[in-house]
């Protein structure tokens, strides 16, 4: 889902930087206010954690592999605003040091994966697990549903961003200058592969990690929810 440089035109890149600027500002203010000084390294750990989760390749029947984003998981564990900062940091490191995801597309990538994905997933989790008792299986189901919805909403948005490019940026005779596929193809492809494959990878990772933590260290999730 990482959008590299060259897929989105300058107007789209600029637009998403403008959209993300107030979100980053609000996120840093909220996190500075709510995060205790003692918890500061947790942000960095959350970012490294999200980065590393993307390195865990899961086997898919048929021999292929896929990876999770972990955005919803970090949001459940740290809260959505802290997750926004943590995933932004992970995406910046990936773009700047490893060329995975573009510099000009950081705004769009962060909007999809550091804002929409954790927020959508987090609130779905809160809604589905509402008043669920500690250690309840409903929390595990809620985490899975949240992971699936979060990653799919983000993927559809990325598809819309790709699909708008031929309409926004083209030559005088209509040739696409950036991503060459229209809305139908781009949204269908992005939604299809995430609904069928990567969405399920996210479900497995989010649900099983929450299940394990509820069993081994339930305080990690309950403290966060109480706070």
């Amino acid at each position: 889902m990482h959008i590299p440089d060259g897929y989105l035109g300058p107007a789209t890149c600029g637009f998403f930087y403008l959209v993300m600027l107030p979100i980053w500002t609000i996120a840093s203010r909220i996190v500075k206010k709510t995060l205790k000084t003692r918890q500061v390294p947790m942000l960095a750990i959350g970012a490294a954690f999200s980065f590393v989760i993307m390195m865990f390749n899961l086997p898919i029947p048929g021999g292929s592999t896929g990876h999770a984003v972990g955005g919803v998981l970090v949001a459940i564990l740290l809260g959505p605003w802290a997750a926004c900062i943590a995933i932004t940091v992970a995406l910046v490191i990936q773009a700047l040091l490893f060329g995975d995801g573009g510099i000009t597309a950081i705004g769009a990538n962060c909007f999809n994966m550091a804002f929409v994905l954790p927020f959508a997933g987090y609130y779905v989790y809160r809604a589905v697990s509402y008043k669920a008792p500690a250690g309840s299986n409903r929390r595990v189901v809620a985490a899975g549903v949240a992971g699936y919805i979060g990653i799919n909403v983000a993927a559809v948005l990325a598809g819309v961003e790709f699909g708008l490019q031929p309409l926004l940026h083209h030559t005088s005779i209509g040739q696409a200058l950036y991503c060459p596929y229209g809305l139908k193809v781009a949204v269908f492809t992005m939604a299809g592969e995430h609904l069928l494959i990567f969405g399920w990878v996210e479900v497995i990772v989010t649900a099983l990690v929450v299940k394990y933590l509820l069993k081994q260290s339930p305080e990690l999730i309950e403290e966060r929810e109480a706070g």
Partner: protein, 282 residues
């Protein structure tokens, strides 16, 4: 059945190649070369402008000139061309090449037929417009990726992250970036050791369902370990004088080489912008 997926080995290999890449990257950044001798601030700003120019370019010629310019400074910076091409082409551009292939054909990009292939009942047409769209797309991706990788290869990673301060990035982001970078190395080590431990106990053959459980348990375990680490790191920060506000030491210094680079960069930028927007705009 999927008993021999070897996903554990694949993950270990992924982690190892990540580590190796990072070590190599610092190796090049420590070498003596043109880009290595520049002030990271000047280098980062000029590279950002170069990437923006790649984004704005609408012709293959401009992209080709910018790509050749990139390869030229690769050589001036004592980086092996073979290594650089392998590093830049292997991941994102190759993936983009795969994405761009359908755009060659008339069902995605209608236009003037360039090549017509007859396969039984089906007639596949590669259009001139399709070829332009796909080539422009790939050229833009490879040129952008090349500039980013070159910046990352020739600048020490900590310096590159510190440069973000000049872009007025809030301190909480810069501090988190610096710390996160260290944690990634530590986490990769933890994963490597854990997988090695699992492999030595269960051997090669593992059902993919069991494999999923192991991966998920490891992610959860990593989070538990991280929490323990948090306490230790915070105490280490306190013992080094941390009082809630991070202090960043700025050792950057500009030299005559930076001005030579700025002149060089300005020349190519002026030419590119002049060509992109045409004479009428100047």
């Amino acid at each position: 059945m999927f008993k021999n997926n070897n996903f554990i080995e694949r993950s270990i290999l992924g982690a190892l190649s990540f580590l190796k890449d990072s070590i190599f990257a610092d190796e090049y950044a420590l070498k003596s070369g043109f880009l290595q001798s520049l002030d990271p601030r000047v280098k980062s700003i000029t590279f950002l402008f170069l990437i923006i120019q790649v984004l704005l370019a609408k012709s293959l010629f401009i992209l080709a000139v910018l790509y050749v310019f990139c390869l030229l400074i690769v050589r001036l910076s004592n980086i092996r061309l073979g290594f650089f091409l392998k590093r830049t082409w292997i991941f994102m551009p190759l993936f983009s090449l795969f994405i761009a292939i359908p755009a060659l054909f008339s069902f995605f990009t209608p236009g003037q037929a360039l090549v017509t292939l007859h396969t039984g009942l089906l007639e596949i047409i590669i259009t001139r417009q399709g070829l332009f769209v796909a080539t422009l797309f790939i050229s833009r991706v490879i040129t952008s990726v090349s500039f980013i990788i070159l910046l990352s290869l020739t600048t020490r990673h900590f310096e590159l992250l510190r440069v973000l301060r000049i872009f007025k990035v809030p301190q909480i982001f810069v501090m988190t970036l610096g710390m996160c970078y260290r944690y990634i190395f530590l986490f990769v080590q933890v994963i490597e050791n854990t997988y090695l431990g699992i492999k030595s106990r269960i051997g090669r053959g593992i059902h993919y369902k069991k494999g999923r459980d192991i991966v998920s348990w490891n992610i959860a375990l990593l989070w538990q370990r991280s929490l323990k680490l948090n306490e230790e790191v915070y105490n280490a920060m306190l013992s080094r004088g941390y009082n809630g506000e991070p202090v960043l030491i700025n050792k950057f210094k500009t030299t005559y080489k930076d001005w030579v680079w700025v002149c060089f960069f300005s020349g190519i930028s002026f030419w590119a912008l002049y060509t992109i927007y045409g004479r009428s705009h100047f």
